[in-house]
């Protein structure tokens, strides 16, 4: 449905340099991530897995930021709700399922870490941990390495608004600011850190903190993926041009409980949650595509069928796959080859 000339210039995505194929692909990944997440919740409720931590409602922004990045050159340090981000970066649903079932073939950690703890060198996704915000200085280290080696590489690091109150946020941002490093700091402000509302986490805007580090900070509506894309694209360009870091605060809302272990009704109301659920950006994105002749009911049906099949197969595969053998459970504390050989 790509058109030429004047018409193309009128679409929001074309104005942003996004091809029709890309914008369609963005939509497909948003839906894929949503469906994966819903399945994971079901699997947990059915007792098939112990734990899931959900990214529902944050997917459109995650996909938009990922699409602004360079998958071949950049480095990614996502956080535990970034399913849509890592799917955009190339992780497969099967791999996510292997992680959810904590199976040996899981590329993230061979089933050692919790689901949502991403890491995959092949996809330039840097291994992450549970203690929040430690990844922020790591991202700065990747950016420093890029600068030292003269590589055109940007690092992107995600974290929640609660996590932005850790010392490592401050130390990492300041370091990057001083050295004008190519890094994008992404605060996904979803209103809660477990039970603690944003009003008890900080009395300022997270984006305003950038000023004190000498680089730009933006607050952007997470329900507007095009705007998210625009801001990240710009940040990416600034980074590549040697103009230094950018802090982006993506405003969103966590519609799921914190994790499957959490009962969110102890600290917020169903009305509040439903209000935000109603703002879901996925249907709006679909509508946009349809309005521009890029999507249809049939394509939707086909997509859902494909996704269902993919997730079914991945679930089955994940469920059946073996755990890491216990004789390997204690491996890789240190390199197995001697220092001599690795040199």
């Amino acid at each position: 449905m790509t058109q030429i000339g004047s018409v193309r210039n009128e679409t929001r995505h074309a104005a942003l340099g996004l091809t029709d194929e890309k914008v369609v692909r963005m939509y497909e990944i948003m839906v894929l991530a949503r469906k994966f997440d819903e399945r994971a919740q079901l699997l947990q409720r059915a007792g098939k897995v112990n734990f899931h931590i959900s990214g529902v409602n944050q997917e459109p922004a995650q996909v938009a930021m990922a699409f602004a990045m360079d998958k071949e050159k950049d480095w990614f340090l996502p956080y535990y709700r970034d399913y849509a981000f890592v799917l955009s970066a190339g992780m497969t649903v099967k791999e996510l399922m292997l992680s959810l079932f904590a199976k040996g073939e899981d590329p993230n950690s061979a089933g050692r870490q919790m689901p949502g703890h991403f890491g995959c060198k092949r996809l330039r996704i840097v291994t992450g941990s549970s203690p929040v915000t430690t990844q922020v200085p790591h991202a700065v280290g990747f950016a420093l390495a890029a600068k030292m080696r003269g590589e055109p590489s940007v690092s992107l690091v995600s974290f929640g608004e609660g996590s932005s109150n850790q010392g490592d946020f401050h130390e990492g941002c300041n370091f990057a600011g001083v050295m004008k490093l190519p890094v994008i700091f992404v605060c996904q402000n979803n209103g809660y850190a477990i039970s603690v509302p944003f009003s008890k986490q900080s009395a300022g805007r997270i984006s305003d903190r950038a000023l004190g580090y000498g680089f730009p900070g933006y607050r952007v509506d997470g329900y507007d993926p095009f705007e998210v894309y625009r801001v990240f694209k710009e940040a990416h360009e600034r980074a590549l041009a040697g103009e230094g870091p950018t802090l982006v605060e993506v405003m969103t809302y966590r519609v799921s409980p914190h994790s499957t272990s959490d009962n969110d009704m102890a600290y917020r109301t169903k009305e509040e949650v439903d209000f935000h659920r109603g703002k879901d950006a996925i249907p709006a994105f679909r509508q946009y595509l349809e309005e521009h002749g890029l999507w249809s009911e049939e394509r939707e049906k086909a997509l859902l069928a494909d996704i269902r099949k993919e997730i079914d197969e991945a679930t089955e595969y994940g469920e059946r796959a073996p755990f890491q053998p216990v004789q390997d459970a204690f491996r890789y504390v240190y390199a197995e080859a001697s220092a001599e050989e690795v040199r």
Binding site: Q113, S195, V196, K200
Partner: protein, 328 residues
């Protein structure tokens, strides 16, 4: 006496002490409306208000540091670390500050602070929701460290910790929270910090440990008594800093065969110090080398169930080690 759960004993201690002493308050992540991720502070905000059951920003160094300031100002803060795995950002405040305030000021200032943190695995928490951080803080003079195994000790030691004039790390075992329940007096009592407790008398082998693995030892001991006629003497250290030297030596001398157990990994753990104390004082009374059965020297346990099980201590592993020692 009512039988209550370990976590309930902790909650009750805080509640009763907050009723008794208005300087006492709790602070930490999600300790307010949610009542903590494990429920240890449930109801406290309703009873004592937002300030005395204070939801803090997600920042452990500030939780410790602000609590230290409040303690120096005369309050009696109880700072909750959501998981002990997440207290490492607060290390500098704990080791450089809390532990040294009295000493560095030549007794002009003090720091009566309790830091509560859940330790231990077996809850499918994976690497970072299962760790035992004792060895990091153990050996820092100025700190006291307790790690109760029973509900009775949990309440009594927590009350003692809150009233202690010095900083106390209170390591509660998350696997014990709902699994362990025992008789706990209503109302006020304390368990003295620095005193170990004989959990079981026996004459064949001595098991020395703290926290959850002692329950495995108790189960194993019952079976060994029944099946093999082996009687284990079991010592609960309860306080891991300062260690109860006398209690340790007495228990070791009792049988001459010592097995030390803890879930924290073996190398550099509390058990090394216990072994060192015994080998320093009791060498000639020993009938067997001092053994340790501990977590493996691996960063932390995996989340996948077979891996977790492989990592964790359990009754069978204890029993095998105890039997082997008895037969030595």
């Amino acid at each position: 006496m009512p039988v209550i759960e370990y976590i309930e004993a902790i909650r009750t201690a805080m509640k009763e002490e907050m009723e008794r002493d208005e300087r006492v308050f709790v602070m930490g992540e999600d300790v307010g409306l949610k009542g903590g991720v494990f429920g240890a502070t449930k109801g406290l905000q309703q009873q004592f208000g937002e300030l005395r059951s204070l939801d803090t920003p997600l920042a452990e160094s500030a939780i410790a540091g602000v609590a230290i300031g409040a303690a120096m100002a005369g309050m009696r803060p109880i700072a909750e670390m959501q998981y002990s795995d997440f207290m490492f950002p607060a290390t500098n405040q704990i080791i450089s500050e809390a532990a040294k305030i009295r000493y560095r000021s030549n007794n002009d200032w003090d720091c009566p602070l309790v830091i509560r943190a859940p330790i231990g695995g077996g809850v499918f928490g994976g690497l970072y929701h299962s760790q035992c951080p004792e060895s990091v803080f153990f050996g820092t003079p100025g700190l006291k460290i307790v790690a109760p195994a029973t509900a009775y000790d949990a309440k009594g030691l927590l009350l003692a910790a809150i009233r202690d004039p010095d900083p106390v790390l209170f390591f509660e075992n998350k696997k014990c929270y709902r699994l362990i329940a025992d008789e706990v007096p209503e109302g006020d009592y304390t368990v003295p910090i620095g005193k170990s407790n004989v959990m079981r008398e026996g004459s064949d082998i001595t098991v020395i440990g703290y926290s959850m693995p002692l329950h495995f030892a108790m189960q194993a001991a019952e079976e060994l008594s029944r099946e093999e006629g082996i009687e284990a003497h079991i010592l609960d250290l309860r306080t891991i800093q300062p260690l109860d030297r006398e209690g340790i030596l007495e228990a070791a001398a009792r049988t001459g065969k010592v097995l030390i157990v803890h879930e924290d990994n073996k190398t550099g753990g509390v058990g090394a110090e216990v072994a060192a104390i015994i080998s320093e004082e009791l060498l000639y009374d020993l009938d067997a080398p001092i053994r340790r059965l501990c977590g493996p020297d691996v960063p932390a346990m995996p989340i996948n169930p077979p891996g977790e099980k492989h990592f964790m201590l359990n009754k069978d592993k204890l029993k095998a080690a105890m039997l082997d020692l008895a037969r030595f």
